[in-house]
Amino acid sequence: MSPKGAAKKILLTAALALAFVGMGCSGFNLEWRVYNGEPTACLAGVSPERRSYLPSTLDVPLQEIARVKLSSAVSQHLCANRDFLLVPTLDGRLSAIDLKLFKVITRKKLPRASAGTIAVTRQTLVIAMRLGEATLLCYDLLEGRKLWEVDAGDIASEPLLADSLVYVAALYKHVDAYRLQDGTRRWQFRTEAQFHASPALSQGILVVASNDGKVYGLQALSGKKLWEFDCKEPVLATPAIHRNIVFIGTAGENVLVLKLQDGALLWKNKIGAKVMHAPAANDSLVIWGSNDGRVRAFDIENGTLRWVFRAGSVIGTSPLVADNLVFVGSLDHNLYALELRSGAVAWQQQLEGRVRTDPIVVGERLIVASEDRVVYIFGKATAAATQ
């Protein structure tokens, strides 16, 4: 270990020690050890664009390295870096799992034991609560102390952290931007309908979609409405953005593609099943999973259907594109790795419960949770395992 690294570790240890001391002073203390100061893959959808794309060298087949049992089913999204994994569970707890020891380091109850969603940037953890009074909370991961909390209304979507702002779309029919530093509200955009879809951000435009099917393009810094598009059917799935294109899946069984700059409709396809999750997109394909158990890949440019994969039941997660593979989970208990080009199954693993938590890739590891309260960690298969 280099002297610099040693010093850093000492500092971190000291910070943790302080955090322990501060346990009695804070209502919510984080007491896990943070090995690496900057976690990765800590936004739902990987990036603010929510396009669930990740360059990766991960290859299949994979084998299960470890599984960790939790107190309840896991929320839609996990957050990890190479050393630890943050897991919000639906019983209103937040657990930290050591990815070297493969065990829960600590487990904390969230306020009112209500389920929450998380986002992490650098050393800051933001938790958005589905129910409660102070529904947006911010913690310092290193110091383990609460930085601020605000009443943002019940939030059923994932917060978005970008440019020192926290964006949340609340059930109480508004989208807010808060300063990450102190929780001061920067702006608020009110609508006529609730939000279940999370906001997505690209090129300074925040895209939000409300339950009544309205999609809004907002100026990220001011909240000013730039454009509005009416899908005329409910939108519950988080929009994704790539290359000036917004991808929308609706509960009215359509997928639409809009121009980021003005919200103009580029193409629309009827797929015949509800879309409940954000798509994944690379430069040429956009991939949606839907409630009829199908994963469909469309040509971004013109909406041509490139391939369809059919799972045994409802697609329960957003697809994740990791280089040439698409990882997706289904309520049929399977985690699938599909070939990006053809949709053929490259690898699949049956888990013990329904898969409703988006898979994430951290380095050479694939992490996913199933409804039976288990987090699975997969890694490269050994030769013996492969055989």
Partner: protein, 1015 residues
């Protein structure tokens, strides 16, 4: 649970639930016999679930379902499999949820087979269309001949399955297992809404509720808990939510159920409105929608002549006998379904001349009249044709209205359910629709002279409501055999008896039911919902009619179009204003047809609610059933011609030669099902443990569990507990029992082994220790629904020790035989009509030491005399007699028998009890409003009673009596709280009592509070 119609109120369900099935009575009888016979004789009655058929069960395995069926209904089961898989795909998408386990679907081909199911112990009332039983996750569904209804019920119950799975998962994930989940109005309303959307039946009920002013706001829904009205209001609320706030809000209501144990709060979190605010919006919306209907429509009672006003009355038939004219109809005005007649045209006929012709629901001859499904008909000779369930299946009855007796009774080997008989003009034949063993409903003609049966149609389409034309050559009927039948539409057809050809009469996406010919054969009156709710329409033959594309042309040429034979039609129905120009006609069809304007089809009535079952009288009027103010009444529409001429709405149906008539695709390819034989595999029904602490008997702990197979035919009960007071007693104090109950056959059987040991106490013997172990067998054979024979044999070793002073050893053999009858009709707190009888004879003998030898005789007779619709005089005479060596004592006293005396503290080897009670309604609705919600009691009943009786061993010294007043409050549908107050009296001997002398009235006022149903 899917309730098919509004007779299926929870009240009727509860009525049945209280009745003990044979299997239960076998178990309970043993429970009575093993220890001393001390439990009050409340439970040894009950109607029987008779298993007339030994089904050969098989399993059709599809992708998501295990479908249990019997080979005779294979085609129907395969159709149901398609419906189930279609529903699964739809609901998986809709709920964003799947089902982890294979779903057991148990199909029956008709309602009567369904009523024999052992998947639930209760008797299933007529109106239950299916249910989801969540312990084993079973869905149990009968067909009633209609595939669209079959599909609807499958969808309805699968909505329950998905909802149950989703809500349980959400509550479990959020660790909210103590939360109750969505309320019944929501679960049933959603099951209806997501299975059939909105239909004319729902529209009729909600219109009536709004316009008659009895719609119950959501905030007061507890007042109609479990009723059919609650189902329909729930459906209307879900529709309103979907249309106003979006369909996804319904799903979000389920997904938010973890957020509060108060569904009003869940609604507020999801919709932004709690119950009160929601009510404001919903009620306003309904009023705005429904009130304007009064502009062009009428309430049936306002513009038609009243034939009946009281109770529920349906299926009128006109009869002329010896110059006197009558309306014959079916009614449950007194609780039981009976067939009545009243003079036609007599303004006060119902009040002064109502005559009960046939009493139903009391005997195995007339078990049920199928009140809402089957019409009745009277021929010119005054013979009434009707169907009634009898001994497990329907029978066709011919009843002479002149002689007032049944002339003929016919049951048919392959026909299970029969509907709507219609006389041939010559009176020699009857056409009716019937469901065969496999579940298909077709038309049949029964020839009275030869007692032969001719099948007219033979397919999976649902053919119903036949009506024989006055010229005797055609039969008009309703069927789903148009292309629209795929979506549940019914249209009218003519069956040509000479050629067997079938012609369209109407064609469109509506429901056209119950056609009936005018006396001259020139018109057909029928009921149709083609403009939203059911009204009576009249199709009048035209003088000049042009050939209709393919159809009429073919009809006139004799080469009739048969959808079955040719199957190439697509249809369009149109409504037009009456002022639309008439078509030109080239030739006249022989019978009324609405196709392409061949006949003049006009809406005869324009009721806000609904009209059904039209029937012509001899003066050109129509009598019919009208729905209004949440009831069905017989009404008369006079001056039909005027109504026809003034009609504002007419319709033209069209048929074009285009596409195939519909068929249900079979599952194939990777979805193709496989079939396996049914093998009994057992799974858990109940498991519970208990620890008790008693200051005298100390502590005891134990557990019991019950397992059964998927069809509930074989059940095992296990009991284990230990009541040792010290370590030394541990092994000798194990109490074990295992019972096997076989319900798969008509004769229900039970076998068991047991070992009981412990310290006991009863008032007669004081404290004693007894160890007994042995085995028993019992059999219960139902003679019919109302009567059964029971027998049991119990062999056990019994060693007793009284306070270490005396001991007795015995090898006891007990034999009992019983005859039980029960045709009682229940009100909210107990029987109001009918009779119940139990006669039991037995002996118990010590075959080893001759220490015990006694005989038992029990006779218990109860009779209920209805004094009005809701009042009754109840009579009970019970005699129990044990005689011989160490005969067990009987116990009495308390709220269940000799009232106002201490509970079970009067005992003797002989007892008698005479009770008289007048039962009457006290308060129908009693509501208490709390800030957090309401509490409602919907049936508080009163009773005036007097009891006389006593128990004795050798001599009856005195008679004990009591008289007083009681109040009964039904709580939650399963419990009745009882409060009695009054005085005791005594007679010093039987002679004094018989001469009404020596009565001693005790001054003290006694009162008792307990629970239990009235005797």
């Amino acid at each position: 649970m899917r309730l098919k119609h509004f007779f299926s109120r929870k009240e009727s369900l509860n009525r049945e639930r209280r009745r003990i099935t044979p299997c239960a009575s076998v178990v309970l009888m043993l429970a009575l016999l093993i220890p001393v016979i001390e439990a009050p004789a409340q439970y040894y009655f009950g109607r029987n679930k008779v298993h007339y058929v030994n089904f050969r069960w098989q399993i059709l395995k599809t992708r998501h379902f295990d479908i249990y069926f019997y080979p005779e209904m294979r085609e129907l089961a395969e159709t149901g499999a398609t419906f189930a898989e279609e529903a699964y795909s739809r609901l998986e998408n809709q709920f964003n949820q799947n089902i982890n386990n294979r779903i057991p679907l148990i199909f029956y081909s008709n309602p009567f087979h369904f009523q024999q199911t052992n998947t639930i112990p209760y008797l299933i009332p007529e109106g239950v269309g299916g249910f989801f039983e969540f312990l084993k996750g079973r869905v149990v569904i009968p067909s009633d001949g209609s595939l669209s209804e079959f599909r609807h019920v499958i969808n309805h119950e699968l909505v329950h399955v998905f909802m149950h799975t989703k809500v349980n998962r959400i509550l479990k994930d959020h660790k909210r297992t103590q939360y109750a989940g969505p309320p019944l109005w929501f679960t049933e309303g959603l099951a209806e809404y997501w299975s059939e959307g909105w239909d004319s039946e729902a529209e009729m009920f909600i219109r009536d509720a709004v316009l008659s002013g009895y719609l119950v706001p959501l905030n007061n829904m507890y007042q109609i808990y479990g009723t059919f009205l609650m189902y329909k209001e729930g459906q209307a609320i879900c529709k309103f939510i979907a249309e106003t706030y979006g369909e996804e809000k319904i799903l979000q209501l389920l997904e938010n159920v973890w957020k509060s144990d108060n569904f009003s709060e869940v609604m507020e979190l999801t919709l932004g409105l709690d119950y009160r605010k929601f009510d404001e919006q919903w009620l306003y919306h309904l009023k705005k929608k429904k009130y304007p209907l009064m502009e062009d429509s009428d309430a049936p009672g306002m513009i038609t002549h009243h034939v009946t006003n009281k109770g529920i009355n349906t299926k009128p038939a006109f009869a002329e006998i010896g110059g006197r004219r009558y309306v014959v109809f079916v009614s449950n005005r007194m609780g039981y379904s009976n067939i009545y007649r009243i003079p036609y045209g007599d303004e006060r006929g119902e009040k002064n001349h109502l005559e009960t012709l046939i009493e139903g629901e009391r005997t195995s001859e007339f078990e049920a009249f199928n009140l809402l499904r089957s019409k009745i008909d009277v021929d010119r000779q005054g013979r009434l044709a009707f169907v009634s369930k009898s001994e497990g299946k329907d029978a066709l009855y011919i009843y002479s209205l002149i002689e007032k007796r049944v002339l003929h009774r016919h049951q048919f080997a392959d026909l299970e359910a029969l509907y709507s008989p219609s006389w041939a003009p010559a009176g020699d034949k009857i056409v009716f629709s019937g469901i065969n063993f496999g579940g298909a409903r077709d038309l049949y003609i029964f020839d009275l002279a030869t007692a032969s049966l001719q099948k007219l149609t033979n397919d999976f389409y649902d053919d119903r409501d036949p009506s024989w034309s006055p010229d005797g050559k055609v039969v008009a009927f309703s069927s789903d055999r148009t292309e629209f039948g795929r979506d549940g539409a019914y249209n009218l057809f003519l069956y040509h008896l000479e050629t067997g050809a079938i012609d369209y009469v109407t064609c469109g996406p509506q429901h056209d039911y119950t056609p009936v010919w005018s006396p001259d054969g020139s018109a057909l009156a029928f009921t149709s919902d083609r403009d939203g709710v059911f009204n009576i329409w009249l199709l009048q033959n035209r003088q000049a009619v042009m050939p209709v594309a393919g159809n009429v042309d073919a009809a006139n040429s004799g080469a009739h179009m048969s959808p079955l034979a040719q199957g190439h039609f697509a249809s369009v129905a149109t409504l037009r204003a009456i002022s639309a120009p008439p078509h030109s006609f080239l030739s006249a069809p022989r019978y009324p047809q609405a196709i392409n304007g061949a006949g003049d089809l006009r809406k005869l009535t324009s009721f806000t609610t609904g009209a059904f079952d039209p029937e012509w009288t001899d003066n050109g009027s129509l009598v019919f059933t009208a729905f209004e103010n949440f009831g069905f009444q017989i009404r008369e529409l006079k001056n039909v011609k005027d109504f026809f001429d003034q009609s504002k709405l007419s319709a033209i149906d069209t048929v074009q030669l285009k596409t195939n008539v519909w068929a249900v695709p079979k599952l194939d390819g990777e979805m193709a099902p496989s079939t396996v034989s049914y093998k009994r595999r057992f799974s858990l029904d109940i498991a519970q443990s208990q620890i008790t602490q008693d200051p005298i008997f100390g502590s005891a702990g134990g557990a019991q569990l019950a397992i059964s197979d998927m069809l509930g035919n074989e059940q095992y009960y296990f009991l284990i507990f230990n009541n040792a007071q010290s370590k030394d007693e541990f092994f000798s104090s194990f109490n074990l029992a295992v019972t096997q109950v076989d319900l798969g056959h008509r004769a229900n059987r039970a076998l068991g082994l047991y070992h009981f040991a412990g310290h006991y106490y009863n008032y007669a013997e004081g404290f004693f220790y007894e160890r007994r172990y042995g085995g028993f067998g019992a059999i219960s054979y139902p003679l019919n629904v109302f009567q059964r024979l029971e027998a049991s044999l119990n062999i056990r070793k019994s060693d007793k020790e009284w306070e270490y002073l005396r001991s007795r050893r015995a090898l006891l053999v007990s034999n009992f035989v019983s005859y039980v009858k029960d045709n009682s009709l229940w009100g909210p707190s107990g029987p109001l009509d009918g009779e119940r009888f139990n006669f039991t004879l037995g002996n118990t003998i010590d075959v080893q030491h001759a220490n015990v030898n006694f005989y038992t005789l029990i006779a218990d007779y109860r009779r209920y005399f209805r004094t009005s619709l809701r009042t009754a005089h109840a009579f009970r005479l019970t005699m129990r007699y044990n005689n011989g060596k160490e005969a067990f004592p009987f116990f009495m006293g308390g709220s269940w028998d000799l009232r106002l005396y201490p509970r079970w503290q009067i005992w003797g080897q002989k007892t008698f009890l005479l009770s008289n009670e007048f039962r009457f309604p006290a308060i129908d609705k009693f509501m208490i409003a709390f800030p957090f919600g309401g509490l409602g009691f919907t049936a508080i009943r009163g009773a005036l009673f007097t009891d006389v009786g006593n128990a004795w061993d050798k001599h009856l010294d005195e008679l004990l009596g009591s008289a007083g007043f009681g109040v009964r409050v039904r709580v939650g549908g399963f419990l009745v709280l009882r409060y009695d107050i009054g005085k005791r009296f005594t007679w010093s001997g039987l002679d004094e009592a018989l001469t009404f002398k020596g009565l001693k009235l005790h001054p003290k006022v006694h009162q008792q509070f307990f629970f239990g149903w009235d005797f």
